[in-house]
């Protein structure tokens, strides 16, 4: 009689049933009408879910002390002493309790708990004390250095590695969410042949016979398909493979690959080069259709360097510090929101803009094409500004620009003297860089021609994410080759291969990879592979006839080869400890310019088709990217920047365009390309979107990704063709007559709502901002006009004094770009449940941080878009506390607004009375109590909340205690920076500072002294401990005039 089986996370296919791998599970949507089951049935389902292998592996796991410790109270079960809604029997107990025994006490008899100690215990091991390990995560081959928090052998939290150049201690949202990917119960759990469980040995028998056949004619039928590879080990093994099978071919495919740039730069310099930016040096930056601050290699580091130039304190010197960002983009991105000048532009116009810029900054051989006045003015001003900052200027071209545009941008950067300063060329970080699309097409052609006998597909999913006109599925189907798929999921491509081998998650793997700047980063496992599984290296190893050599051996080989010597042991240990190879960044170089390339590029651009009435832009999704993270509940429920959409993609249109096309928000519409390809999806009105452009995010409409992703959204790859990988210059759109409900956390799906919201935000000075010049005139602009001469904190009450520690936080709105890293970091640190689309649509998302988005100016043409992270303000005079009837939320002596879950009875009065609306209520049983994998992920230092209790941001009180108790033990003060909240630590631009506001030396105190510092809704007299630093924009006078 209870909704025991609240799916975690909830599927978007209501009541539907989905087949995942070899197990078939009925799903019910988490809703007012939950499934009614008894425990036995629950257990049955649980078993039917994972399949035999999964249970075996879990039992094995159960033998290990790590798992034993799990059973210990180390792992918190319930916030309430009652397992809310587990069985009828429990309810009766509970009823009895409230009548009888409970009449006098809150204590109730708990079940006897077990303690399972180690048999042999490691020396350095301290029960309950998390250990940090250095490793790194590769995305499209490019590594970011990480530190992983491990509780009793369970990786629970991802942090950036402060030593690592690509991270400097921060991480982006997908990296934060990657730990959930490790515990994804839908990961494939067994080697399978034609859908039946098989073994590594049998696979290798088949391989050997196939390979012996191949060796006869130099492996002419052997093909390898992987993503981009930067890993020295993988590169070494593949090289070895190609050596022993000279006729074999190595193909690459990655939907996120920056082919345009690779090709364009190859054109410009005659050979592939690596390129990275140094934004610390950049005074003026122009981004063309590029979200370089939150997406793509190095974005975390870029965000940091960029923001450091905008964290201005006092006006003097501010002008010198502050950089200026111009962004021209078709659809608003996080990068666009921090721009000083954001220019809405259609993708088809970019070519012209680039040429005009090139001409304006004096690139030889480029003539300015005719532009409309607005663009012309904008380009002229921007170009002048860029030119004026020669040597400190930079133009960043987005990956969706055509290769020719990249060539021209390279030329522009040359003209601006960027190279060697704001922009560094080097050898490519990728081993044997190729044009992914060409490479994939080549493979498919050969498969069609029947030239392929043995194909290993490792870690890529072309059947789902390749352009539709390649008809990969059909080609695979038609091919006679022995196809082996290796990946985390038994996915769309696996369905078209005879063999599937589960891959290890990076947290289970040994390996290495290069960072955006070439720094070699080590990958070491935090946990035994949950379901066995192989690394790409091991797969190639198997092809090399070394099926038994594990990834560790292969990795050692590489580095023994590199470093050698008898000191190797210690040296290698140090590598693993640091997580990277010191000073392995690729040396900057100045490649020679190929003169002809410019004119070639100009011609190529001339060939680009002109934009029609309505253009289609296909872009990776901000949360799930190309779809590889689609089965990650945290990312699905993450409100996408700007749109605040969750759980699906949509056809994004500007209000004007929608009006012109006669569609409204939430209408289901059909996009038709000239060659008759169709996309059907809900329309979403997005202020800030360029008129005449329909943007659709990739990564949805998965069919074999898992319970989370299957069937939500629609796949935009269906409209993708060889010719139009990033969109179509001309499409038509027509409403189908249906409408859809989309789950958004802000804006409430109506343009009027957004208008009112934004108007009110401005009237209420929620986000305070000024231009640099205004700031120089009045450093205290953030307080101008606001209740002058009134002490908003005046009170009849003496109030409380906070001696000793007194925690406070400052969020710099000038640094925040709304990238969402903090939201996921908070979710994984604080055991925050995923509630599912339907609950989000009802306004019941549980995130402790939300990033509010406001438009400035008219929503039809917003002058700017701002993001404002909202956490619990920890008010000294908290409205929530006074109204709680049971004193479940009260103030600590350190000024924290403590939320005591186990005392909470859930009247929700506190949430009503919170002016910042940061409190979240467990309306239903949102926590998944039964999926073993998710239990492994939870943070044992944070109570897992159950149904019926309120929760909210605690300033990561568990981290405070983790630092304060040892300090107290050693009779010393907690040093500044010793405590970092999860959001603060993850934040790429480091917009958040936290610390003891009684410590004059603390950074947070310095920030609170910053004239830009203001408290939200201060007139309510709540005395928030969290304050904000007002925004200062640095517009180009020429344009703002």
């Amino acid at each position: 009689m209870t909704d025991l089986l609240m799916p975690h996370p909830a599927p978007a296919t209501p009541g539907g049933s989905t087949t995942t791998g070899d197990c078939h599970v009925e799903w019910k949507k988490p809703s007012a009408a939950p499934v009614s089951v008894n425990l036995a049935a629950a257990r049955e389902r649980l078993q039917s879910r994972g399949g035999a292998t999964y249970w075996r592996s879990l039992e094995e796991l159960a033998e290990t002390p790590e798992f034993g410790e799990l059973l210990d109270r180390e792992f918190p079960r319930f916030a309430s002493e009652w397992p809310d809604g587990v069985s009828r029997r429990n309810f009766l107990q509970l009823a009895a309790a409230s009548l009888g025994l409970a009449g006098l006490t809150a204590c109730t008899r708990q079940p006897i708990e077990k303690i399972v100690p180690y048999v042999r215990q490691a020396e350095e091991f301290l029960p309950g004390k998390p250990i940090l390990f250095a490793t790194s995560m590769a995305l499209s081959g490019v590594a970011t250095g990480l530190l992983i928090e491990s509780h009793n052998g369970r990786p629970t939290k991802v942090e950036g590695n402060p030593e690592h150049p690509a991270s400097l201690g921060a991480t982006d949202a997908v990296t934060q969410a990657s730990v959930l990917g490790l515990y994804d119960p839908d990961r494939s759990q067994a080697i399978s042949q034609l859908g039946k469980a098989a073994t590594w040995t049998t696979l290798n028998q088949q391989l050997t016979s196939a390979l012996t056949a191949q060796s006869a004619f130099g492996g002419a039928g052997l093909r390898l398909l992987t993503g981009p590879v930067t890993s020295p080990t993988e590169a070494r093994l593949i090289a070895a493979l190609l050596e022993s099978y000279p006729q074999a071919r190595w193909h690459r495919w990655d939907p996120l690959a920056r082919d345009g740039a690779t090709k364009g730069l190859t054109e410009a310099f005659g050979a592939p080069v690596g390129m990275r930016f140094d934004l610390a040096k950049a005074d003026v930056v122009l981004a063309l259709e590029s979200d370089f601050l939150t997406a793509g290699p190095g974005s975390v580091r870029y965000a940091r360097d960029f923001a450091d130039r905008r964290k201005v304190g006092h006006p003097e010197g501010a002008a010198a510090t502050m950089n200026r960002l111009y962004v021209a983009e078709s659809s608003p991105t996080a990068t666009g929101t921090v721009a000083d000048h954001r220019f809405r532009i259609r993708p088809s116009q970019l070519g012209g803009i680039v040429q005009a810029l090139a001409a304006a900054v004096g690139v030889a051989g480029v003539a300015a094409p005719p532009l409309d006045t607005a663009s012309a003015k904008w380009v002229a001003a921007t170009a002048r500004d860029l030119a004026a900052h020669r040597g400190a200027a930079l133009v960043v071209a987005g990956e969706t620009l055509p290769a020719a545009a990249h060539t021209l941008v390279a030329a522009i950067n040359e003209a601006l003297g960027a190279s060697g300063g704001t922009l560094l060329y080097s050898a490519p970080i990728e081993a044997d860089p190729v044009d992914n699309l060409t490479s994939l097409v080549a493979l498919l052609d050969e498969m069609k021609a029947g030239k392929v006998d043995l194909l290993l597909v490792s870690g890529v999913n072309p059947v789902y994410d390749a352009p539709a006109d390649l008809e990969v599925a059909a080609v695979f189907q038609g091919s006679s080759a022995l196809r082996i798929h290796h990946g985390l999921h038994d996915d769309e491509t696996a369905a078209y291969c005879q063999w599937h081998v589960p891959a290890t998650h990076y947290l289970e793997s040994w390996g290495d990879a290069r960072a955006y700047d070439g720094t070699v980063s080590l990958v070491q496992p935090l946990i035994e592979p949950l379901y066995g599984g192989k690394t790409t290296g091991e797969m190639v190893g198997a092809l090399l006839g070394r099926p038994t050599d594990d990834a560790y051996t292969l990795l050692r080989e590489t580095w023994e080869g590199q470093m050698g010597g008898e000191t190797f042991e210690s040296a290698f240990r140090k590598l693993l400890h640091d997580g990277m190879v010191p000073a392995s960044a690729l040396a900057p170089s100045q490649p020679a310019w190929v003169g002809a390339s410019v004119s070639a590029a100009v011609q190529a651009l001339a060939g680009e088709p002109a934009g029609g009435e309505l253009e289609l832009a296909l872009r990776p999704d901000p949360s799930v990217l190309d779809g590889r993270f689609a089965n990650n509940g945290w990312l699905q429920e993450l409100p996408k920047p700007i749109t605040k959409l969750t759980w699906e993609n949509a056809i994004l249109l500007s209000p004007r365009t929608a009006e012109k096309l006669g569609v409204k928000g939430n209408d289901v519409a059909e996009l038709t390309s000239p060659d008759g390809r169709k996309l059907t999806g809900p329309v979403w009105l997005l202020p800030g979107q360029a008129d005449g452009v329909a943007t659709v995010h990739l990564g949805y409409g998965r069919t074999r990704a898992g319970k989370v992703a299957n069937g939500i959204g629609f796949s935009a790859y269906a409209a993708q063709t060889l010719a139009s990988r990033y969109g179509l210059p001309s499409v038509t759109l027509a409403a189908t007559g249906d409408s859809a409900e989309l789950a958004t956390t802000q804006g409430h799906q109506s343009i009027d709502w957004m208008r009112e919201e934004s108007e009110q935000a401005t009237e209420r000075a929620i986000v305070r901002q000024a231009t640099l010049s205004e700031f120089e005139q009045d450093p205290h602009f953030a307080h101008a006009g606001a209740h002058e001469g009134i002490d908003v904190n005046a009170s009849f009450n003496p109030g409380f004094e906070y001696k000793g520690y007194s925690w406070g936080m400052v969020i710099d709105l000038n640094a925040c770009n709304g990238c969402n890293a903090c939201v996921v970091a908070c979710q994984s640190e604080n055991n925050i449940p995923v509630v599912g689309k339907e609950q989000v649509a009802r306004g019941r998302e549980m995130h402790w941080i939300r990033v509010d988005r406001y438009y400035q100016g008219d929503v039809d043409e917003p002058s700017a878009i701002v993001s404002q992270p909202i956490v619990c303000m920890q008010c000294e005079q908290a409205p929530c506390e006074v109204v709680c009837p049971v004193a479940a939320t009260v103030h600590s002596t350190e000024g924290l607004n403590d939320m005591v879950y186990n005392r909470c009875v859930g009247t929700r009065y506190c949430a009503n009375n919170c002016p910042y609306k940061v409190r979240r209520f467990n309306f239903l049983l949102y926590q998944d109590w039964e999926t073993e994998q998710f239990k492994l992920q939870r943070n044992p230092d944070v109570t897992v909340r159950s149904r019926g209790v309120m929760e909210k941001c605690t300033y990561c009180v568990q981290r405070i205690n983790r630092a304060r108790i040892p300090a107290d033990r050693d009779q010393r003060q907690v040093a500044d920076g010793e405590i970092q909240t999860a959001c603060q630590q993850a934040c790429p631009p480091q917009a958040i500072s936290f610390g003891n506001i009684n410590d004059p030396a603390a950074k947070v105190v310095a920030d609170k002294k910053n004239p830009r510092n203001y408290s939200l809704l201060e007139e309510l007299g709540t005395r928030p401990r969290t304050t904000y630093l007002a925004m200062v924009k640095n517009p180009n006078p020429e344009l703002s005039a």
């Binding site: 409230s98 306004g843 049971v886 239903l924």
Partner: protein, 463 residues
């Protein structure tokens, strides 16, 4: 209490008697007892069955709620309170007429109260019972709330937070409930004695006898009785005013624009009386017809209740105007936006219905013609019943859904479970009312007898 004075007052223009002429102590008692001891018509059992069905629906809804969670309702973030608290306030409001009529009108020596007070008190009790369900079941963990909100020594060494209006509520509403119960029961005792003596069946004699506790109608009894009854009336009067004031504090002492207003207490109390009288009329009119009690519940009562509704209705209307004015005059952007949002925002239809029901619909009551028309009175009372519910909707969700930070704004949509719970309480309420009418004297007999000529005595000469 002697009523010899009444003739000396200037005769009002329109003054029907409070009890039809020709009634004696005996006839009053017999007539009223006959309602209980007589046979009940078929419609009574049908109606009873329907209301009982409603009560069962409530039971189902609450069971579902406890097993599944508040999530089955429409409540969300930012609208933490929806139907649950709307219904709570609505029921409490209705529950005010009883005590007001019994207590305040008693103190004001309004004789016309006597024929309706018993009924109104019963209504109070049942309305309060329905109301009490909501604060308990709207919590996320009612099995804890049921005792954690009470101050009792426990092994956690922790107490409720007496600064919280919800705790004030717990005390106010439970006090109100129990005092009303006592008041009602004491009023019943002499009539139970009458029943004890009237009924022919022994088992009934025993039950009524036990409840009457051996009441003999002795002069010594009446002596203490009258004094106690008067004291209870005196205590209930401030109590009834305090209860809805405290309920209004739930909002008035909050931060939310639309809640944080000083006029709430008086405006809520007036609203409560307004709603209470409306509900009394709604129930009384059919009842008096069904059991032929026109002699005791005369046009005089209808007329007076109409007047009370008009007055309190106007006070409520004034409250609306003051809210708007202060919001504008204060220059507080949040308050002013809140008002604009009520009138022009997504829930404007509710606000319009509110004005229609609570302000416009009662205007006919200015005219005696309307107050003389049973039909008109009943229709108007229904309007008010709805109107007062809308008022609470306007105050609670409409204020919450758009407060300080535009980024946190949301919408509130009730679910079928919200409606099931609401209509369920109405079913429970009606079922209890029917039971009451069936087994207890719906009109205070001994007080009515006091109004008959038999009760008129001359002061004795002392010697």
């Amino acid at each position: 209490m002697s009523v010899a004075e009444s003739p000396r007052l200037p005769a009002p223009l329109y003054d029907p008697p409070v009890i039809a002429p020709g009634h004696s102590s005996a006839s009053v008692g017999d007539k009223i007892s006959s309602v209980v001891f007589g046979k009940m018509p078929l419609w009574f059992y049908v109606a009873m069955a329907i209301s009982f069905g409603g009560a069962m629906m409530l039971l189902t809804a609450l069971t579902k709620l406890v097993f599944t969670g508040i999530g089955i309702w429409g409540n969300n973030n930012p609208v933490g309170w929806g139907f649950d608290i709307i219904n709570f306030v609505w029921w409490i409001g209705i529950g005010h007429a009883g005590t007001l009529i019994s207590a305040i009108l008693l103190l004001l020596r309004q004789e016309w109260r006597t024929s309706i007070n018993r009924f109104a008190e019963a209504m109070t009790l049942f309305a309060v019972a329905c109301a009490l369900l909501f604060p308990l079941f709207h919590t996320g963990r009612p099995w804890l709330a049921v005792y954690w909100l009470l101050p009792y020594p426990n092994t956690m060494a922790i107490w409720p937070n007496f600064r919280s209006p919800l705790i004030w509520d717990v005390f106010a509403v439970s006090t109100y409930g129990s005092v009303s119960l006592v008041f009602w029961f004491i009023g019943l005792v002499p009539d139970l004695a009458t029943f004890r003596d009237r009924t022919k069946k022994l088992w009934q004699k025993k039950i009524y006898g036990a409840l009457a506790m051996g009441w003999r109608g002795s002069a010594r009894h009446w002596h203490n009785y009258e004094s106690a009854y008067l004291l209870l009336a005196g205590l209930s009067t401030p109590l009834v005013l305090s209860v809805h004031s405290v309920v209004s504090f739930d909002f008035a002492s909050g931060q939310v624009p639309g809640w944080h207003a000083t006029i709430f207490p008086p405006y809520f109390v007036a609203g409560a009386v307004f709603a209470g009288f409306a509900m009394v009329l709604t129930l009384m009119i059919p009842l008096r017809k069904a059991f032929g009690l026109e002699d005791f519940i005369t046009m005089k009562h209808m007329d007076n209740m109409g007047k009370v509704m008009l007055v309190t209705g106007l006070i409520v209307g004034y409250g609306y105007i003051v809210e708007i004015f202060t919001a504008w005059y204060s220059g507080n952007i949040y308050e002013w936006y809140m008002i604009r949002n009520r009138i022009f925002g997504p829930y404007k239809i509710i606000w319009m219905s509110l004005i229609l029901c609570n302000v416009l619909a009662i205007q006919p009551l200015w005219f005696r013609k309307a107050r003389k028309s049973i039909a008109a009175l009943w229709i108007i009372s229904m309007f008010v019943n709805f109107g007062m519910w809308f008022e609470r909707f306007v105050i609670i969700p409409t204020s919450l859904h758009r407060d300080f930070l535009p980024g946190s704004w949301g919408m509130y949509y009730p679910t079928r479970w919200d409606f099931a719970t609401f209509f369920g309480t109405i079913g429970l309420f009606m079922a209890l009312m029917f039971l009451f009418v069936r087994v207890f004297p719906a009109i205070a007999m001994f007080e009515m007898k006091g109004l008959t000529p038999d009760a008129k005595v001359k002061e004795p000469a002392h010697g």
